[in-house]
Symmetry: C2
DNA sequence: CACTGTGAATGCATTCACAGCG
DNA sequence: CGCTGTGAATGCATTCACAGTG
């Protein structure tokens, strides 16, 4: 994850100091701390956190140190407190972000069904699809609207984040509709590079790329 | 990912010289060259290739230089020839790789439906699911088998690559079944860290992580 | 004594910049 | 002249290693 997107400008001075990769892991820490909290774990060491997430203990400490000093020498980190602090830093504490989804196919449906988003305050408000057959049906309690209405709905519902889960050929057009509607952050799941103005933060997730590149290593090894 | 997985040992001496990130982009180049080839484009410059993929021209040249010298000064790269060379290097020229999918939910269905895999010689041979309701149904022409049979089927069908698209709680068990069946490469789509022996190459793709980490930047900017 | 927090060292990946070639 | 291929420079990210602390 790693990724799969390759460039991203940082804008605010506060954000510039924290490595991009670290911010990505920040949400990983939040996830794991949620889990530990429901398991009533009181303290956790960088070592244990690292093992659970497949990182090194030094990396966990370094990452957390970008945001402040949360630990206690000899004890580790207090789970509940660290969880609170990190959700606050991540910007998901005590508020919600509105999300719109373009593309109600299998991938879009998978995204809608993922419970983790709700838990982090990411709320799906709009779903659109190009297939006339699907218009009007509801999915996860949301009505599917036609793609032509995307820009309008984005504005109307004050959407913060756009999700692109449409076929490659439709992706750039949908992206433009998001931008016209005023979203400042987009996650693209179509396997194609999209053009956005520098004011919009674009992340791409390529479902296929890891699988496709594996052959390189398989072909080189035994058998 | 940036994408999203964080560690991966390289084993063969040939592979050690080529950066991991570059190999990931290798399949990106192959994709784009396929496209250019169907469009009957004869030559392409590093500049143009880069623009199309959202990279820099220097990076394209550097990446390709790891594999050999394919270009002509003043002209660029011959599309068809470069495409052939790269598919050969990627290990997808003139052969196929057998893939098994665990989890026939929305995400699994999206993966099965993606036409790009077939084009790169990645052939789905096995699909399993835990839901008794789904057993026996066919999906993209493949019958869904029960998860208990996974290890056996993997062996029987000589599966090279395993895909995990099951819920978090089932992921590690399914992973073990793949390993027991003898696969040496796994792509995991469940948002959890999996343990594998060093002989198995594991890649993780986290669908949610990019979206979840976006709030950090949104919260910090204007509005 | 177990663990954090962090300078300093290391290791990758990207970008610069330009010699050399067709 | 346009474009490749690549040393050298730069910039990030990770890891080491240990002083400092409850």
């Amino acid at each position: 994850m790693k990724r799969s997107n390759h460039r991203a400008p940082s804008r605010s001075p506060a954000a510039r100091l924290v490595p991009e990769a670290c911010v990505t892991r920040l949400s990983l820490y939040v996830r794991e701390l949620s889990r530990l909290e429901t398991q009533r774990v009181g303290y956790v060491s960088s070592r244990r956190l690292a093992q659970q997430l497949g990182l090194t203990d030094a990396q966990v400490r370094r990452d957390l140190s970008y945001f402040g000093q949360f630990g206690t020498s000899g004890r580790g980190y207090e789970v509940q407190r660290l969880h609170e602090q990190l959700t606050s830093i991540l910007g998901v504490a005590g508020r919600t972000w509105n999300v719109a989804l373009a593309g109600a196919g299998n991938l879009g449906s998978a995204l809608l069904a993922y419970r983790g988003f709700q838990q982090r305050g990411l709320v799906f408000k709009v779903v659109v699809d190009a297939d006339p057959q699907k218009i009007g049906r509801t999915i996860q309690g949301l009505p599917i609207a036609p793609t032509q209405r995307l820009t309008e709905l984005v504005r109307q519902q004050n959407i913060h984040i756009g999700l692109i889960a449409v076929p490659v050929d439709a992706a750039q057009a949908v992206c433009q509709q998001f931008i016209d509607g005023g979203v400042r952050a987009i996650v693209n799941f179509a396997p194609v590079h999209l053009e956005v103005p520098p004011s919009v933060r674009l992340r791409s997730v390529d479902l296929a790329i890891e699988l496709e590149s594996l052959a390189f290593y398989l072909a080189r090894n035994h058998r």
